[in-house]
């Protein structure tokens, strides 16, 4: 069976609430069947609006959304058959867990014994057997969350939307729920569109991530590519930690370019710069820079240690390097790095390949 690559298709979708500002601009996005795709972005970036348009609670101002090849703009939400998990779970507080799960089955007029089977299955999927007769108010946040997930899946939708479902949970619970949702996705193969502003959540769960900013998808790619190879400085800064140098391209040749900073020159990988004289922002992941490098690296500079923060498994070191006092290094906690002391001068090195010269924004 071939997988439908365009199971969900946003085709040139624009959305404006007030006729003055476009919240979503010319959105072009294909989602494959069975995929776990995450819309990631800061608040106000248009990601939730996209989800709401897909669910049918908002209508696109322009363009069309296709679900399995059918245009859905004129289909009301209750006929779309899309499961949805809401930000604050949206469990019906006056119904028991069982009744909550039975709601989508009852409106579909599924016979009771069959419905009971489905409810049992859905509850065991989120390991909440025996909770059927509880009221949502008697459950903990994590349990309510699971009920919400079970409810969105109980009627076997092909597509499930999740709108920041883990936002209200504490850190540990959030992490374990991330794995749980991921496992559920893997075991039943449903297509999931997930919205979050938490990048680590997006990185651990998704097949692909669409990074939203300013109503536009900035980059759509797999988590590793997003982290390793951000295409612009917004993505680089939004995902993970980042060291930046702002400067001007002074020389460019193939895979390498020279960037002139205020008081030095560094070698970088030209990603979005094309010619000499362009302004650029060079982005470097903290773990790609090494202290006292033994390999031959094409960038080796001296810096002064300004701050040392102990994190247990690693140490964060803030270094004043090439006029950037916010240069961060993550040093693994091993005996080789014991000479890191406040005020010491140290040598830092990195490969130009990892220093990505991006747009100057």
């Amino acid at each position: 069976m071939s997988v439908n690559k365009e199971f969900v298709k946003f085709d040139k979708v624009d959305k404006s609430y007030d006729g003055k500002v476009l919240v979503v601009k010319d959105l072009q996005l294909d989602i494959a069947e069975g995929e776990f795709i995450t819309m990631l972005g800061p608040s106000g970036s248009g990601k939730t609006t996209c989800l709401m348009m897909l669910a049918g609670f908002e209508t696109p101002t322009n363009g069309e959304i296709y679900l399995d090849g059918n245009a859905i703009s004129s289909i009301p939400p209750h006929k779309r058959g899309i499961g949805m998990v809401f930000q604050n779970y949206a469990l019906f507080p006056h119904m028991t867990v069982y009744e909550n799960l039975a709601f989508p089955l009852r409106v579909r007029k599924i016979p009771k014994d069959e419905a009971d089977k489905k409810i049992d299955k859905a509850l065991s999927m989120v390991s909440l057997q025996g909770f059927a007769s509880r009221m949502p108010g008697q459950l903990s946040g994590g349990q309510q969350q699971r009920v919400a997930v079970a409810r969105s899946l109980v009627f076997d939708p092909q597509l499930v939307l999740m709108d920041e479902p883990l936002g209200a949970l504490d850190k540990n619970l959030r992490e374990s729920m991330q794995y749980e949702i991921k496992h559920i996705h893997e075991s039943i193969g449903v297509t999931v569109v997930y919205v979050t502003h938490d990048q680590s959540e997006a990185l651990t769960m998704s097949n692909r991530i669409a990074v939203f900013n300013d109503g536009k998808v900035q980059q759509l790619s797999s988590p590793d590519e997003l982290y390793e190879k951000p295409v612009n400085s917004f993505v680089a800064e939004f995902i993970g930690e980042n060291n930046t140098f702002t400067g001007e391209v002074s020389e460019i040749s193939g895979q390498k370019c020279k960037v002139k900073l205020s008081n030095a020159e560094i070698m970088a990988n030209p990603i979005s710069v094309k010619s000499k004289g362009e302004r650029t922002k060079v982005s470097l992941r903290p773990e790609r820079a090494l202290i006292n490098p033994k390999d031959k690296m094409d960038n080796i500079h001296n810096g002064k240690i300004e701050e040392v923060i102990y994190h247990g498994d690693h140490t964060r070191v803030r270094i004043n390097l090439l006029g950037n006092p916010e240069f961060i290094l993550k040093v693994p906690n091993s005996s080789a790095n014991l000479d890191i002391k406040l005020g010491n001068e140290i040598k830092i090195g990195w490969n130009s390949e990892d220093a990505r010269a991006l747009d100057p924004k």
Partner: protein, 417 residues
């Protein structure tokens, strides 16, 4: 008291409970002092007068104290035949004393409540009693007027002997104690109160229903509209509150009268003929329209406060799970608004049941309520005990409704805001 073996001591050896009380005493006194002005105010202006008023409804000491000797003499009278000379003599003695104090008028009023016809014969007796000779009072009194020779009137006097009476309550239900001491209804054509009670319940019920039907969509709109529009709408809802009740009722009179704006409009669009304008005022319609409008905010506000707390995502969840908008509303939204509905309905019903000014002004004869009757007895007939009896009946009616509501919906479910 807890057993001494379990008593916990503080580090100083004082029992913990004592120490705690001591520590909290100051706060308790402070709290009481803060409440005290209102408490005294309430006791003086509410508890005491209301209690006194309610006591009047069963208090019948007045006649008992005016005719002490008569009632003493009547104790042995069986009530079959006319009483003997000793009763007449005692009555004469009491009556002379009343005349000296100029209180015989009050007696006639009181006895007239029990049986019509006392007023004139007591007046006559006062005039004639001046020339009475000593002895044989029975003959002399009976010769004043033939009613004094009627055993019915003496029975009526005897019925006033007890210090407490339930007759005001019976009268409120159009019932009375007849000559044989049985509780019976008055003749059909003289029943006025039962009709009024039923009409009060009916109008209160329908006003509540109308208020609910109109307030629910408004409250929903208020709760879902963006802030700037909902504030404006809220002001529209509250605006009537800031206008005097009398002014609002009067403006309904302008609107609803036969030559009023509403009728003009109906004639204008050809709904009714100019010479056949419907009467919309001085009848039930007037009461319905004006009371619904005036009580509407009391329904809107509790509903609004409840709807405000219902997350819009619940309706969305209902729809995304496959419920049509109606199913989502009926199964998800509506059940969650029940606390507000309960509060609003209870509030409007209780207010409507005791409504006074509006029905008095626009209700006419067929639109007045029991409260107007109470006011009538307070102001015109000065039968305060009857007015307070009806007031207490109204209050108990409200309490019964409250109790029923608690049984059916549960009072904890109520939410006023």
């Amino acid at each position: 008291m807890s057993s001494e073996t379990k008593q916990i001591l503080t580090t100083d050896g004082i029992p913990l409970e004592v120490s705690l009380k001591k520590a909290e005493r100051k706060n308790k006194i402070k709290a009481f002092l803060l409440v005290a002005p209102l408490l005294f105010f309430l006791i003086i202006t509410y508890v005491f007068p209301i209690g006194d008023m309610l006591f009047r409804s069963i208090d019948d000491k007045m006649v008992t104290q005016m005719l002490p000797k008569t009632f003493k003499a009547m104790e042995t009278w069986d009530g079959q035949e006319l009483p003997g000379e000793e009763v007449f003599a005692a009555f004469h003695e009491d009556f002379i004393k009343l005349v000296e104090d100029k209180r015989e008028g009050k007696l006639s009023t009181q006895l007239n409540y029990t049986k019509n016809g006392f007023k004139s014969i007591i007046k006559k007796l006062r005039r004639k009693s001046k020339s009475f000779e000593e002895g044989n009072y029975k003959e002399q009194i009976m010769s004043v007027h033939k009613r004094w020779a009627d055993v019915e009137y003496w029975r009526a006097i005897k019925r006033r002997a007890p210090e407490f009476t339930s007759q005001k309550y019976l009268k409120g239900m159009d019932m009375y104690v007849n000559e044989e001491g049985k509780i019976v209804s008055v003749e059909e054509d003289r029943r006025i109160h039962r009709v009024l009670w039923l009409r009060t319940l009916e109008i209160a019920f329908f006003v509540t229903v109308f208020c609910f039907l109109m307030a629910y969509p408004i409250a929903h709109l208020l709760a879902t509209l963006p802030m700037k529009y909902s504030n404006l709408l809220m002001i529209c809802v509250l605006l009537p509150f800031w206008t005097s009740l009398l002014v609002r009722t009067a403006s309904w009179m302008i609107l609803l009268q036969q030559q009023g704006i509403v009728n003009d409009f109906f004639v204008g669009i050809g709904l009714v003929a100019d010479d056949n304008r419907p009467e919309m005022m001085y009848n039930k319609t007037g009461s319905y329209v004006a009371m619904t409008q005036i009580l509407l905010p009391f329904m809107v506000l509790p509903l609004y406060s409840v709807m405000k707390t219902i997350s819009p995502s619940l309706m969305r969840a209902g729809k995304s799970l496959g419920g049509t908008p109606f199913v989502a509303f009926w199964k998800v939204y509506f059940p969650l608004t029940i606390p507000g509905i309960g509060a609003g309905c209870l509030l409007v019903f209780i207010l409507a049941i005791g409504y006074y000014i509006t029905p008095a002004l626009v209700g006419g004869a067929s639109g007045t309520l029991i409260s107007n009757q109470i006011a009538f007895h307070m102001k015109s007939t000065l039968d305060w005990s009857f007015a307070s009896a009806m007031g207490l009946m109204l209050l108990s009616g409200v309490l019964v409704i409250y109790w029923l509501y608690n049984k059916i919906v549960g009072i904890d479910n109520i939410k006023l805001g």
